[in-house]
Amino acid sequence: MSDPTAASIVSTPPVEQPTGVGAPADAGVPENARREKPRGLLGDAWRDLRRKPLFWISATLIVVFVLMALFPSLFTNGDPENGTLTNSRVEPSANGWFGYDVQGRDVFARVIYGARASIVVSLLSVLGTLLIGGTMGIIAGYRGGWVDALLSRIADVFFGLPFVLGAIVILTTFNGSGTSNSKAEIMALVSISLIVLSWPVVMRLMRSSVLATREADYIVAARALGAGTGRIILKHLLPNCLAPLLVYGTIMVGTFIGVEATLSFLGVGLKSPVVSWGIMINEAQNYIRVSPFLLFFPSAFLVTAVLSFVMLGEAVREALDPKLR
Protein backbone atom coordinates (compact mmCIF):
# COMPACT_ATOMS: atom_id res chain seq x y z
CA MET A 1 0.00 0.00 0.00
CA SER A 2 1.27 3.44 -0.76
CA ASP A 3 -0.12 4.53 2.56
CA PRO A 4 2.42 6.88 4.16
CA THR A 5 1.37 5.86 7.68
CA ALA A 6 3.24 2.60 7.17
CA ALA A 7 6.58 4.29 7.55
CA SER A 8 5.77 5.81 10.91
CA ILE A 9 4.84 2.46 12.34
CA VAL A 10 8.26 1.01 11.74
CA SER A 11 10.45 0.92 14.76
CA THR A 12 13.09 -1.64 15.30
CA PRO A 13 12.52 -3.54 18.53
CA PRO A 14 15.14 -3.39 21.23
CA VAL A 15 17.73 -6.09 21.16
CA GLU A 16 16.51 -8.75 23.56
CA GLN A 17 18.74 -10.42 26.05
CA PRO A 18 19.42 -13.92 24.84
CA THR A 19 17.97 -16.48 27.18
CA GLY A 20 18.84 -20.10 27.42
CA VAL A 21 22.11 -19.82 25.51
CA GLY A 22 24.37 -20.10 28.52
CA ALA A 23 22.94 -23.39 29.72
CA PRO A 24 25.88 -24.41 31.91
CA ALA A 25 25.66 -21.18 33.94
CA ASP A 26 22.43 -22.08 35.73
CA ALA A 27 23.21 -25.77 36.03
CA GLY A 28 23.48 -25.59 39.80
CA VAL A 29 20.59 -23.17 40.33
CA PRO A 30 17.44 -24.64 41.91
CA GLU A 31 14.38 -25.06 39.70
CA ASN A 32 12.32 -22.14 41.08
CA ALA A 33 15.06 -19.58 40.39
CA ARG A 34 14.43 -19.85 36.69
CA ARG A 35 11.11 -18.06 37.03
CA GLU A 36 12.89 -14.78 37.52
CA LYS A 37 14.18 -14.64 33.99
CA PRO A 38 13.41 -11.27 32.39
CA ARG A 39 10.08 -11.00 30.61
CA GLY A 40 10.32 -10.81 26.84
CA LEU A 41 9.12 -7.95 24.70
CA LEU A 42 5.70 -9.53 24.30
CA GLY A 43 5.30 -10.12 28.03
CA ASP A 44 6.11 -6.50 28.73
CA ALA A 45 3.72 -5.36 26.05
CA TRP A 46 0.92 -7.50 27.46
CA ARG A 47 1.39 -6.01 30.94
CA ASP A 48 1.23 -2.56 29.37
CA LEU A 49 -1.82 -3.36 27.28
CA ARG A 50 -3.88 -4.67 30.20
CA ARG A 51 -3.86 -1.22 31.78
CA LYS A 52 -5.19 0.61 28.72
CA PRO A 53 -8.92 1.32 28.39
CA LEU A 54 -8.43 1.87 24.64
CA PHE A 55 -7.26 -1.72 24.34
CA TRP A 56 -10.25 -3.14 26.21
CA ILE A 57 -12.78 -1.06 24.25
CA SER A 58 -11.38 -2.05 20.88
CA ALA A 59 -10.87 -5.68 21.90
CA THR A 60 -14.50 -5.95 23.05
CA LEU A 61 -15.76 -4.46 19.80
CA ILE A 62 -13.59 -6.85 17.81
CA VAL A 63 -14.90 -9.84 19.76
CA VAL A 64 -18.45 -8.72 18.99
CA PHE A 65 -17.65 -8.37 15.28
CA VAL A 66 -15.95 -11.77 15.17
CA LEU A 67 -18.98 -13.34 16.88
CA MET A 68 -21.15 -11.62 14.27
CA ALA A 69 -19.06 -13.12 11.52
CA LEU A 70 -19.10 -16.62 13.04
CA PHE A 71 -22.68 -16.85 14.29
CA PRO A 72 -24.85 -14.15 12.69
CA SER A 73 -27.98 -15.97 13.84
CA LEU A 74 -27.10 -15.06 17.44
CA PHE A 75 -27.89 -11.44 16.67
CA THR A 76 -30.79 -11.64 14.26
CA ASN A 77 -33.28 -14.14 12.89
CA GLY A 78 -34.04 -12.03 9.83
CA ASP A 79 -33.29 -13.12 6.27
CA PRO A 80 -30.43 -11.11 4.72
CA GLU A 81 -30.92 -12.25 1.12
CA ASN A 82 -34.67 -12.36 0.51
CA GLY A 83 -37.12 -9.55 1.05
CA THR A 84 -40.72 -8.55 0.44
CA LEU A 85 -41.12 -5.84 -2.18
CA THR A 86 -44.01 -4.23 -0.29
CA ASN A 87 -41.49 -3.32 2.39
CA SER A 88 -39.35 -1.37 -0.08
CA ARG A 89 -37.56 1.51 1.65
CA VAL A 90 -39.71 1.34 4.79
CA GLU A 91 -38.23 3.58 7.48
CA PRO A 92 -36.76 2.12 10.68
CA SER A 93 -39.46 1.00 13.13
CA ALA A 94 -40.00 -1.48 15.96
CA ASN A 95 -40.41 -4.29 13.41
CA GLY A 96 -37.31 -3.64 11.35
CA TRP A 97 -34.92 -1.75 13.60
CA PHE A 98 -32.82 -0.42 10.75
CA GLY A 99 -35.61 -0.31 8.18
CA TYR A 100 -35.81 -2.10 4.84
CA ASP A 101 -33.84 -1.55 1.62
CA VAL A 102 -35.08 -1.07 -1.94
CA GLN A 103 -35.74 -4.79 -2.40
CA GLY A 104 -37.56 -4.90 0.94
CA ARG A 105 -34.76 -6.78 2.69
CA ASP A 106 -34.18 -6.32 6.40
CA VAL A 107 -31.27 -3.87 6.75
CA PHE A 108 -30.48 -5.02 10.31
CA ALA A 109 -30.07 -8.65 9.20
CA ARG A 110 -27.99 -7.58 6.21
CA VAL A 111 -25.70 -5.42 8.31
CA ILE A 112 -25.12 -8.33 10.73
CA TYR A 113 -24.48 -10.86 7.95
CA GLY A 114 -22.26 -8.33 6.18
CA ALA A 115 -19.63 -8.65 8.90
CA ARG A 116 -18.60 -12.10 7.71
CA ALA A 117 -17.46 -11.18 4.20
CA SER A 118 -15.59 -8.09 5.35
CA ILE A 119 -13.75 -9.77 8.21
CA VAL A 120 -12.92 -13.00 6.36
CA VAL A 121 -11.54 -11.12 3.35
CA SER A 122 -9.47 -8.71 5.41
CA LEU A 123 -8.07 -11.39 7.76
CA LEU A 124 -7.12 -13.62 4.82
CA SER A 125 -5.45 -10.74 3.01
CA VAL A 126 -3.52 -9.64 6.08
CA LEU A 127 -2.29 -13.18 6.77
CA GLY A 128 -1.22 -13.60 3.16
CA THR A 129 0.47 -10.20 3.05
CA LEU A 130 2.39 -10.83 6.27
CA LEU A 131 3.43 -14.31 5.14
CA ILE A 132 4.61 -13.34 1.66
CA GLY A 133 6.01 -9.93 2.55
CA GLY A 134 7.66 -11.26 5.70
CA THR A 135 9.32 -14.20 3.92
CA MET A 136 10.55 -12.00 1.09
CA GLY A 137 11.83 -9.43 3.60
CA ILE A 138 13.76 -12.04 5.59
CA ILE A 139 15.30 -13.52 2.44
CA ALA A 140 16.24 -10.10 1.06
CA GLY A 141 17.62 -8.81 4.34
CA TYR A 142 19.46 -11.97 5.36
CA ARG A 143 20.93 -12.92 1.99
CA GLY A 144 21.71 -9.42 0.76
CA GLY A 145 23.65 -9.01 -2.47
CA TRP A 146 21.97 -9.70 -5.78
CA VAL A 147 19.02 -11.53 -4.17
CA ASP A 148 18.22 -8.38 -2.21
CA ALA A 149 18.59 -6.18 -5.30
CA LEU A 150 16.33 -8.42 -7.39
CA LEU A 151 13.61 -8.77 -4.75
CA SER A 152 13.67 -5.05 -4.03
CA ARG A 153 13.22 -4.17 -7.71
CA ILE A 154 10.31 -6.62 -7.99
CA ALA A 155 8.76 -5.01 -4.94
CA ASP A 156 9.27 -1.58 -6.54
CA VAL A 157 7.27 -2.68 -9.58
CA PHE A 158 4.24 -3.55 -7.45
CA PHE A 159 4.80 -0.51 -5.26
CA GLY A 160 4.64 1.72 -8.34
CA LEU A 161 1.02 0.78 -8.99
CA PRO A 162 -1.50 3.11 -7.37
CA PHE A 163 -3.37 0.88 -4.89
CA VAL A 164 -7.04 1.32 -5.76
CA LEU A 165 -6.30 1.58 -9.47
CA GLY A 166 -4.23 -1.61 -9.44
CA ALA A 167 -6.90 -3.50 -7.52
CA ILE A 168 -9.59 -2.35 -9.97
CA VAL A 169 -7.55 -3.48 -12.98
CA ILE A 170 -6.78 -6.89 -11.47
CA LEU A 171 -10.34 -7.47 -10.33
CA THR A 172 -12.02 -6.42 -13.58
CA THR A 173 -9.68 -8.72 -15.45
CA PHE A 174 -10.42 -11.80 -13.36
CA ASN A 175 -13.79 -10.88 -11.86
CA GLY A 176 -15.33 -8.79 -14.63
CA SER A 177 -18.98 -8.52 -15.61
CA GLY A 178 -18.84 -11.56 -17.89
CA THR A 179 -17.43 -14.00 -15.33
CA SER A 180 -19.47 -16.27 -13.08
CA ASN A 181 -17.35 -16.91 -10.00
CA SER A 182 -18.78 -18.51 -6.89
CA LYS A 183 -18.91 -16.68 -3.54
CA ALA A 184 -15.70 -18.28 -2.29
CA GLU A 185 -13.89 -17.59 -5.55
CA ILE A 186 -14.83 -13.91 -5.49
CA MET A 187 -13.65 -13.56 -1.91
CA ALA A 188 -10.37 -15.33 -2.74
CA LEU A 189 -9.85 -13.07 -5.76
CA VAL A 190 -10.36 -9.91 -3.72
CA SER A 191 -7.94 -11.20 -1.08
CA ILE A 192 -5.32 -12.12 -3.67
CA SER A 193 -5.45 -8.73 -5.32
CA LEU A 194 -5.03 -7.02 -1.94
CA ILE A 195 -2.07 -9.28 -1.14
CA VAL A 196 -0.41 -8.72 -4.51
CA LEU A 197 -0.57 -4.96 -4.09
CA SER A 198 0.44 -4.66 -0.45
CA TRP A 199 3.22 -7.20 0.18
CA PRO A 200 6.01 -4.76 -0.82
CA VAL A 201 5.30 -2.58 2.23
CA VAL A 202 5.63 -5.53 4.61
CA MET A 203 8.72 -6.70 2.80
CA ARG A 204 10.42 -3.33 3.25
CA LEU A 205 9.46 -3.30 6.91
CA MET A 206 10.84 -6.79 7.50
CA ARG A 207 13.95 -6.19 5.43
CA SER A 208 14.93 -3.10 7.41
CA SER A 209 14.45 -4.83 10.78
CA VAL A 210 16.41 -7.88 9.61
CA LEU A 211 19.22 -5.61 8.41
CA ALA A 212 19.23 -3.89 11.80
CA THR A 213 19.44 -7.14 13.80
CA ARG A 214 21.47 -9.29 11.41
CA GLU A 215 24.82 -8.27 12.85
CA ALA A 216 23.72 -8.27 16.52
CA ASP A 217 25.99 -10.06 18.96
CA TYR A 218 23.57 -12.86 19.75
CA ILE A 219 23.26 -13.75 16.06
CA VAL A 220 27.02 -13.82 15.69
CA ALA A 221 27.20 -15.94 18.85
CA ALA A 222 24.60 -18.37 17.54
CA ARG A 223 26.45 -18.70 14.26
CA ALA A 224 29.72 -19.25 16.13
CA LEU A 225 28.06 -22.02 18.13
CA GLY A 226 27.26 -23.74 14.86
CA ALA A 227 23.57 -22.93 14.38
CA GLY A 228 22.33 -23.37 10.80
CA THR A 229 20.67 -20.69 8.71
CA GLY A 230 17.22 -22.11 9.36
CA ARG A 231 17.70 -22.13 13.12
CA ILE A 232 19.14 -18.61 13.18
CA ILE A 233 16.21 -17.25 11.18
CA LEU A 234 13.47 -19.07 13.08
CA LYS A 235 14.84 -18.93 16.63
CA HIS A 236 16.76 -15.67 16.71
CA LEU A 237 15.89 -13.37 13.83
CA LEU A 238 12.14 -13.89 13.60
CA PRO A 239 11.19 -13.29 17.26
CA ASN A 240 13.21 -10.09 17.30
CA CYS A 241 11.80 -8.68 14.06
CA LEU A 242 8.17 -9.54 14.74
CA ALA A 243 7.04 -6.46 16.69
CA PRO A 244 6.69 -3.93 13.83
CA LEU A 245 4.99 -6.59 11.73
CA LEU A 246 2.48 -7.28 14.49
CA VAL A 247 1.55 -3.61 14.79
CA TYR A 248 1.30 -3.10 11.06
CA GLY A 249 -0.75 -6.26 10.67
CA THR A 250 -3.35 -5.18 13.24
CA ILE A 251 -3.79 -1.76 11.67
CA MET A 252 -3.88 -3.38 8.23
CA VAL A 253 -6.91 -5.50 9.19
CA GLY A 254 -8.85 -2.28 9.72
CA THR A 255 -7.53 -0.67 6.56
CA PHE A 256 -8.36 -3.74 4.48
CA ILE A 257 -11.95 -3.80 5.74
CA GLY A 258 -12.19 -0.26 4.40
CA VAL A 259 -10.48 -1.12 1.11
CA GLU A 260 -12.67 -4.18 0.58
CA ALA A 261 -15.74 -1.98 1.14
CA THR A 262 -14.34 0.60 -1.31
CA LEU A 263 -13.84 -2.04 -4.00
CA SER A 264 -17.29 -3.52 -3.44
CA PHE A 265 -18.68 -0.01 -3.51
CA LEU A 266 -17.03 0.58 -6.91
CA GLY A 267 -18.67 -2.62 -8.13
CA VAL A 268 -15.47 -4.57 -8.77
CA GLY A 269 -15.05 -6.36 -5.43
CA LEU A 270 -17.65 -8.59 -3.81
CA LYS A 271 -20.97 -8.79 -5.61
CA SER A 272 -24.54 -9.66 -4.76
CA PRO A 273 -25.68 -12.20 -3.52
CA VAL A 274 -22.72 -11.89 -1.16
CA VAL A 275 -23.82 -9.56 1.64
CA SER A 276 -21.23 -6.92 2.50
CA TRP A 277 -21.22 -3.39 3.87
CA GLY A 278 -19.60 -2.03 0.71
CA ILE A 279 -22.30 -3.51 -1.49
CA MET A 280 -25.02 -2.09 0.77
CA ILE A 281 -23.48 1.38 0.57
CA ASN A 282 -23.19 1.03 -3.18
CA GLU A 283 -26.89 0.14 -3.47
CA ALA A 284 -27.90 2.95 -1.12
CA GLN A 285 -26.07 5.75 -2.91
CA ASN A 286 -28.86 6.29 -5.44
CA TYR A 287 -31.40 6.87 -2.65
CA ILE A 288 -29.26 9.26 -0.62
CA ARG A 289 -31.87 12.03 -0.89
CA VAL A 290 -34.98 10.02 -0.02
CA SER A 291 -33.71 7.29 2.31
CA PRO A 292 -30.46 8.35 3.95
CA PHE A 293 -30.88 5.65 6.63
CA LEU A 294 -29.97 3.05 3.98
CA LEU A 295 -26.57 4.70 3.79
CA PHE A 296 -26.22 5.40 7.48
CA PHE A 297 -26.40 1.93 9.07
CA PRO A 298 -23.90 0.03 6.91
CA SER A 299 -21.55 3.03 7.07
CA ALA A 300 -21.79 3.11 10.86
CA PHE A 301 -20.94 -0.59 11.14
CA LEU A 302 -18.11 -0.28 8.65
CA VAL A 303 -16.65 2.71 10.46
CA THR A 304 -16.88 1.03 13.87
CA ALA A 305 -15.20 -2.13 12.60
CA VAL A 306 -12.36 -0.23 10.92
CA LEU A 307 -11.88 2.02 13.93
CA SER A 308 -11.75 -0.82 16.43
CA PHE A 309 -8.94 -2.58 14.54
CA VAL A 310 -7.02 0.65 14.01
CA MET A 311 -7.39 1.57 17.71
CA LEU A 312 -6.18 -1.88 18.72
CA GLY A 313 -3.19 -1.40 16.45
CA GLU A 314 -2.42 1.96 18.05
CA ALA A 315 -2.66 0.46 21.53
CA VAL A 316 -0.36 -2.42 20.56
CA ARG A 317 2.09 0.01 19.01
CA GLU A 318 2.24 2.12 22.14
CA ALA A 319 2.81 -1.00 24.22
CA LEU A 320 5.53 -2.33 21.94
CA ASP A 321 7.38 0.90 21.30
CA PRO A 322 9.96 1.36 24.06
CA LYS A 323 10.48 5.00 23.10
CA LEU A 324 7.01 5.90 24.32
CA ARG A 325 7.36 4.30 27.76
Binding site: S2, P4, T5, S8, R153, I154, D156, V157, F158, G160, L161, P162, F163, V164, L165, I168, V169, I170, T172, T173, F174, G176, S177, G178, G254, G258, V259, A261, T262, F265, L266, G267, V268, I281, Q285, I288, R289, P292, L295, S299, L302, V303, V306, L307, V310, M311, E314
Partner: protein, 308 residues
Protein backbone atom coordinates in the same frame (compact mmCIF):
# COMPACT_ATOMS: atom_id res chain seq x y z
CA UNK B 1 24.09 15.07 -6.54
CA UNK B 2 24.38 14.66 -10.30
CA UNK B 3 25.48 11.05 -10.00
CA UNK B 4 22.73 10.33 -7.49
CA UNK B 5 20.13 11.79 -9.84
CA UNK B 6 21.46 9.72 -12.71
CA UNK B 7 21.39 6.53 -10.65
CA UNK B 8 17.84 7.17 -9.49
CA UNK B 9 16.70 7.88 -13.05
CA UNK B 10 18.31 4.65 -14.25
CA UNK B 11 16.60 2.74 -11.45
CA UNK B 12 13.27 4.19 -12.57
CA UNK B 13 13.53 2.53 -15.98
CA UNK B 14 13.09 -1.13 -14.93
CA UNK B 15 10.36 -0.18 -12.48
CA UNK B 16 8.53 1.80 -15.14
CA UNK B 17 8.82 -1.00 -17.68
CA UNK B 18 7.81 -3.64 -15.14
CA UNK B 19 4.75 -1.76 -13.91
CA UNK B 20 3.47 -0.80 -17.35
CA UNK B 21 4.09 -4.28 -18.73
CA UNK B 22 2.13 -5.76 -15.85
CA UNK B 23 -0.82 -3.49 -16.65
CA UNK B 24 -0.52 -4.13 -20.37
CA UNK B 25 -0.52 -7.88 -19.82
CA UNK B 26 -3.49 -7.75 -17.42
CA UNK B 27 -5.58 -5.59 -19.71
CA UNK B 28 -4.77 -6.97 -23.16
CA UNK B 29 -3.67 -10.56 -22.74
CA UNK B 30 -5.47 -12.14 -19.80
CA UNK B 31 -9.15 -11.62 -20.72
CA UNK B 32 -8.81 -13.59 -23.98
CA UNK B 33 -10.82 -12.07 -26.82
CA UNK B 34 -10.15 -8.31 -26.94
CA UNK B 35 -13.18 -7.77 -29.18
CA UNK B 36 -15.77 -9.34 -26.88
CA UNK B 37 -18.63 -6.89 -26.38
CA UNK B 38 -17.03 -4.13 -28.43
CA UNK B 39 -19.64 -3.97 -31.18
CA UNK B 40 -22.87 -4.21 -29.23
CA UNK B 41 -24.92 -7.39 -29.37
CA UNK B 42 -23.42 -8.81 -32.57
CA UNK B 43 -19.90 -9.99 -33.27
CA UNK B 44 -17.48 -7.43 -34.66
CA UNK B 45 -17.25 -7.24 -38.47
CA UNK B 46 -14.11 -8.75 -39.99
CA UNK B 47 -12.94 -5.47 -41.48
CA UNK B 48 -12.94 -3.88 -38.04
CA UNK B 49 -11.20 -6.83 -36.41
CA UNK B 50 -8.54 -6.82 -39.13
CA UNK B 51 -7.96 -3.09 -38.83
CA UNK B 52 -7.60 -3.28 -35.04
CA UNK B 53 -5.38 -6.36 -35.19
CA UNK B 54 -3.17 -4.54 -37.66
CA UNK B 55 -3.05 -1.41 -35.54
CA UNK B 56 -2.34 -3.02 -32.17
CA UNK B 57 -0.41 -6.00 -33.64
CA UNK B 58 -2.80 -8.29 -31.79
CA UNK B 59 -1.78 -11.34 -33.82
CA UNK B 60 1.77 -11.22 -32.51
CA UNK B 61 3.24 -12.15 -29.14
CA UNK B 62 2.62 -9.89 -26.18
CA UNK B 63 6.26 -8.77 -26.15
CA UNK B 64 5.98 -7.44 -29.70
CA UNK B 65 2.67 -5.78 -28.86
CA UNK B 66 4.13 -4.11 -25.81
CA UNK B 67 7.25 -2.96 -27.67
CA UNK B 68 5.13 -1.53 -30.45
CA UNK B 69 2.92 0.27 -27.96
CA UNK B 70 5.87 1.78 -26.10
CA UNK B 71 7.43 2.91 -29.37
CA UNK B 72 4.25 4.79 -30.29
CA UNK B 73 4.00 6.22 -26.81
CA UNK B 74 7.43 7.76 -26.92
CA UNK B 75 6.54 9.39 -30.22
CA UNK B 76 3.65 11.07 -28.44
CA UNK B 77 0.96 8.74 -29.81
CA UNK B 78 -1.26 7.49 -26.99
CA UNK B 79 -3.36 5.43 -29.38
CA UNK B 80 -7.09 5.76 -29.84
CA UNK B 81 -10.21 4.26 -28.30
CA UNK B 82 -12.09 1.50 -30.08
CA UNK B 83 -14.44 4.20 -31.27
CA UNK B 84 -11.54 6.09 -32.89
CA UNK B 85 -11.20 9.00 -30.48
CA UNK B 86 -7.56 9.88 -29.76
CA UNK B 87 -6.69 9.01 -26.17
CA UNK B 88 -4.38 12.02 -25.97
CA UNK B 89 -7.55 14.15 -26.28
CA UNK B 90 -9.24 12.42 -23.36
CA UNK B 91 -6.18 12.92 -21.18
CA UNK B 92 -5.83 16.55 -22.26
CA UNK B 93 -9.43 17.42 -21.36
CA UNK B 94 -9.67 15.57 -18.07
CA UNK B 95 -6.21 15.95 -16.59
CA UNK B 96 -6.50 19.70 -15.86
CA UNK B 97 -9.64 18.97 -13.83
CA UNK B 98 -7.84 16.38 -11.73
CA UNK B 99 -4.92 18.75 -11.29
CA UNK B 100 -7.24 21.51 -10.10
CA UNK B 101 -8.92 19.21 -7.61
CA UNK B 102 -5.55 17.93 -6.37
CA UNK B 103 -4.30 21.48 -5.85
CA UNK B 104 -7.40 22.47 -3.88
CA UNK B 105 -7.08 19.32 -1.77
CA UNK B 106 -3.40 19.98 -1.18
CA UNK B 107 -3.98 23.56 -0.04
CA UNK B 108 -6.81 22.55 2.28
CA UNK B 109 -4.88 19.70 3.87
CA UNK B 110 -1.76 21.83 4.24
CA UNK B 111 -3.58 24.70 5.93
CA UNK B 112 -5.78 22.67 8.28
CA UNK B 113 -3.25 19.92 8.97
CA UNK B 114 -0.42 22.33 9.69
CA UNK B 115 -2.49 24.60 11.91
CA UNK B 116 -3.72 21.66 13.96
CA UNK B 117 -0.27 20.09 14.12
CA UNK B 118 1.55 23.27 15.17
CA UNK B 119 -1.02 24.24 17.79
CA UNK B 120 -1.07 20.80 19.40
CA UNK B 121 2.69 20.34 19.12
CA UNK B 122 3.27 23.53 21.09
CA UNK B 123 0.74 22.73 23.77
CA UNK B 124 0.55 19.01 24.35
CA UNK B 125 -1.98 17.07 26.43
CA UNK B 126 -4.54 19.86 26.49
CA UNK B 127 -8.16 19.62 25.38
CA UNK B 128 -7.24 20.66 21.84
CA UNK B 129 -4.51 18.03 21.67
CA UNK B 130 -6.90 15.24 22.59
CA UNK B 131 -9.54 16.57 20.21
CA UNK B 132 -7.07 16.60 17.34
CA UNK B 133 -5.76 13.12 18.20
CA UNK B 134 -9.25 11.63 18.20
CA UNK B 135 -10.38 13.39 15.03
CA UNK B 136 -7.21 12.41 13.15
CA UNK B 137 -7.78 8.82 14.22
CA UNK B 138 -11.23 9.02 12.66
CA UNK B 139 -10.01 10.64 9.46
CA UNK B 140 -7.23 8.08 9.07
CA UNK B 141 -9.52 5.13 9.68
CA UNK B 142 -12.58 6.04 7.63
CA UNK B 143 -12.75 4.94 4.01
CA UNK B 144 -12.85 7.97 1.76
CA UNK B 145 -16.21 7.09 0.21
CA UNK B 146 -17.88 7.09 3.61
CA UNK B 147 -16.50 10.54 4.40
CA UNK B 148 -17.52 11.69 0.93
CA UNK B 149 -21.08 10.46 1.19
CA UNK B 150 -21.66 11.71 4.71
CA UNK B 151 -20.35 15.21 3.91
CA UNK B 152 -22.19 15.30 0.58
CA UNK B 153 -25.41 14.37 2.32
CA UNK B 154 -24.89 16.82 5.22
CA UNK B 155 -23.71 19.88 3.28
CA UNK B 156 -25.31 19.21 -0.08
CA UNK B 157 -28.64 17.57 0.70
CA UNK B 158 -29.55 18.23 4.33
CA UNK B 159 -28.31 21.77 4.86
CA UNK B 160 -28.12 22.82 1.20
CA UNK B 161 -24.99 24.93 1.70
CA UNK B 162 -23.26 23.70 -1.45
CA UNK B 163 -24.40 21.88 -4.55
CA UNK B 164 -23.97 18.13 -4.05
CA UNK B 165 -22.14 17.70 -7.35
CA UNK B 166 -19.60 19.76 -9.26
CA UNK B 167 -20.55 21.42 -12.53
CA UNK B 168 -18.45 21.38 -15.69
CA UNK B 169 -16.99 24.83 -15.05
CA UNK B 170 -15.17 23.47 -11.97
CA UNK B 171 -15.46 26.65 -9.91
CA UNK B 172 -13.13 26.79 -6.94
CA UNK B 173 -16.06 27.29 -4.54
CA UNK B 174 -17.55 24.00 -5.73
CA UNK B 175 -14.27 22.18 -5.28
CA UNK B 176 -13.81 22.98 -1.60
CA UNK B 177 -15.95 20.09 -0.34
CA UNK B 178 -14.49 17.46 -2.73
CA UNK B 179 -11.03 18.81 -1.99
CA UNK B 180 -11.60 18.41 1.73
CA UNK B 181 -12.81 14.84 1.23
CA UNK B 182 -9.90 13.94 -1.04
CA UNK B 183 -7.33 15.41 1.31
CA UNK B 184 -8.91 14.21 4.56
CA UNK B 185 -6.63 11.25 5.28
CA UNK B 186 -3.45 13.12 4.41
CA UNK B 187 -4.65 16.08 6.46
CA UNK B 188 -4.78 13.90 9.55
CA UNK B 189 -1.41 12.46 8.76
CA UNK B 190 0.15 15.89 8.26
CA UNK B 191 -1.29 17.06 11.57
CA UNK B 192 0.27 14.08 13.35
CA UNK B 193 3.68 14.42 11.70
CA UNK B 194 3.81 18.17 12.35
CA UNK B 195 2.79 17.64 15.98
CA UNK B 196 5.51 15.05 16.64
CA UNK B 197 8.14 17.01 14.81
CA UNK B 198 7.41 20.27 16.64
CA UNK B 199 7.21 18.57 20.00
CA UNK B 200 10.58 16.92 19.35
CA UNK B 201 12.32 20.09 18.16
CA UNK B 202 10.99 22.19 21.02
CA UNK B 203 13.56 20.59 23.29
CA UNK B 204 16.39 21.15 20.80
CA UNK B 205 19.41 23.20 21.76
CA UNK B 206 18.89 25.85 19.12
CA UNK B 207 15.43 26.62 20.45
CA UNK B 208 16.80 27.04 23.96
CA UNK B 209 19.53 29.30 22.60
CA UNK B 210 16.99 31.42 20.77
CA UNK B 211 14.90 31.79 23.92
CA UNK B 212 18.02 32.56 25.99
CA UNK B 213 18.98 35.29 23.52
CA UNK B 214 15.77 36.98 24.52
CA UNK B 215 13.96 36.63 21.22
CA UNK B 216 10.20 37.05 21.42
CA UNK B 217 8.30 33.73 21.44
CA UNK B 218 6.68 34.52 18.10
CA UNK B 219 10.05 34.75 16.44
CA UNK B 220 11.38 31.62 18.13
CA UNK B 221 8.41 29.60 16.93
CA UNK B 222 7.84 31.28 13.58
CA UNK B 223 11.44 31.37 12.37
CA UNK B 224 13.58 28.91 14.30
CA UNK B 225 11.19 26.13 15.25
CA UNK B 226 8.86 26.03 12.23
CA UNK B 227 11.59 26.08 9.60
CA UNK B 228 13.27 23.03 11.03
CA UNK B 229 10.13 21.13 11.90
CA UNK B 230 8.43 21.48 8.56
CA UNK B 231 10.91 19.46 6.52
CA UNK B 232 9.09 16.13 6.97
CA UNK B 233 5.77 17.87 6.31
CA UNK B 234 6.92 19.38 3.04
CA UNK B 235 8.19 16.06 1.75
CA UNK B 236 4.93 14.46 2.83
CA UNK B 237 3.00 17.05 0.82
CA UNK B 238 5.10 16.23 -2.24
CA UNK B 239 4.46 12.49 -2.00
CA UNK B 240 0.83 13.24 -1.49
CA UNK B 241 0.52 15.32 -4.64
CA UNK B 242 1.76 12.32 -6.59
CA UNK B 243 -0.81 10.09 -4.91
CA UNK B 244 -3.65 12.62 -5.21
CA UNK B 245 -3.24 12.95 -8.94
CA UNK B 246 -3.75 9.23 -9.43
CA UNK B 247 -6.01 8.29 -6.58
CA UNK B 248 -9.07 10.44 -7.09
CA UNK B 249 -11.25 7.67 -8.55
CA UNK B 250 -13.65 7.54 -5.61
CA UNK B 251 -13.89 11.27 -4.94
CA UNK B 252 -14.34 12.13 -8.60
CA UNK B 253 -17.05 9.48 -8.81
CA UNK B 254 -19.01 10.73 -5.81
CA UNK B 255 -18.95 14.39 -6.80
CA UNK B 256 -19.16 13.66 -10.53
CA UNK B 257 -16.02 15.51 -11.51
CA UNK B 258 -14.83 14.85 -15.03
CA UNK B 259 -11.25 14.00 -14.10
CA UNK B 260 -8.70 11.38 -15.01
CA UNK B 261 -9.78 9.00 -12.25
CA UNK B 262 -13.32 8.93 -13.54
CA UNK B 263 -12.11 8.44 -17.11
CA UNK B 264 -9.92 5.51 -16.20
CA UNK B 265 -12.67 3.90 -14.15
CA UNK B 266 -15.15 4.29 -17.00
CA UNK B 267 -12.58 2.87 -19.39
CA UNK B 268 -11.98 -0.14 -17.15
CA UNK B 269 -15.69 -0.84 -16.80
CA UNK B 270 -16.36 -0.50 -20.55
CA UNK B 271 -13.19 -2.50 -21.33
CA UNK B 272 -11.54 0.24 -23.40
CA UNK B 273 -8.19 -1.51 -23.12
CA UNK B 274 -6.09 1.07 -24.96
CA UNK B 275 -7.47 3.92 -22.84
CA UNK B 276 -6.87 2.05 -19.58
CA UNK B 277 -3.24 1.29 -20.42
CA UNK B 278 -2.44 4.80 -21.65
CA UNK B 279 -3.94 6.57 -18.64
CA UNK B 280 -2.35 4.18 -16.18
CA UNK B 281 1.03 4.67 -17.84
CA UNK B 282 0.70 8.42 -17.44
CA UNK B 283 -0.35 8.07 -13.79
CA UNK B 284 2.48 5.67 -12.95
CA UNK B 285 4.99 8.00 -14.58
CA UNK B 286 3.70 10.99 -12.61
CA UNK B 287 3.76 8.97 -9.39
CA UNK B 288 7.35 7.74 -9.89
CA UNK B 289 8.66 11.17 -10.87
CA UNK B 290 6.94 12.84 -7.92
CA UNK B 291 8.60 10.37 -5.54
CA UNK B 292 11.98 11.14 -7.08
CA UNK B 293 11.32 14.86 -6.80
CA UNK B 294 10.45 14.48 -3.13
CA UNK B 295 13.74 12.73 -2.40
CA UNK B 296 15.64 15.52 -4.11
CA UNK B 297 13.59 18.14 -2.27
CA UNK B 298 14.52 16.47 0.97
CA UNK B 299 18.21 17.02 0.31
CA UNK B 300 17.62 20.60 -0.77
CA UNK B 301 15.66 21.45 2.39
CA UNK B 302 17.82 19.67 4.93
CA UNK B 303 21.51 20.43 4.52
CA UNK B 304 22.38 17.52 6.84
CA UNK B 305 21.30 15.09 4.11
CA UNK B 306 23.72 14.76 1.24
CA UNK B 307 23.36 12.24 -1.53
CA UNK B 308 26.63 10.93 -2.88
Amino acid sequence: MGRYLLRRLLQLIPVFIGTTFLIYWLVWSVPGDPFAGKCGERACPDAYVNMMTEKFKLDQSIWVQYGNYMQNLFQGDFGSTFGGRPIGDIIATSYPNTLKLAMVALIIEAVIGLTAGVLTGLRRNGFLDNLVLVSTLFLLALPIFVIGFVLQWLFGVQWGIVKPTVSNEMRISELILPGFVLGSASMAYIARVARTSIAENRRADYVRTAIAKGLPMRRVVGVHLLRNSLIPVVTLLGTDLGALMGGAIVTEGIFQINGIGRQVFRAIVTKESATVVSIVVVLVLVYLLMNLLVDLLYAALDPRIRYE
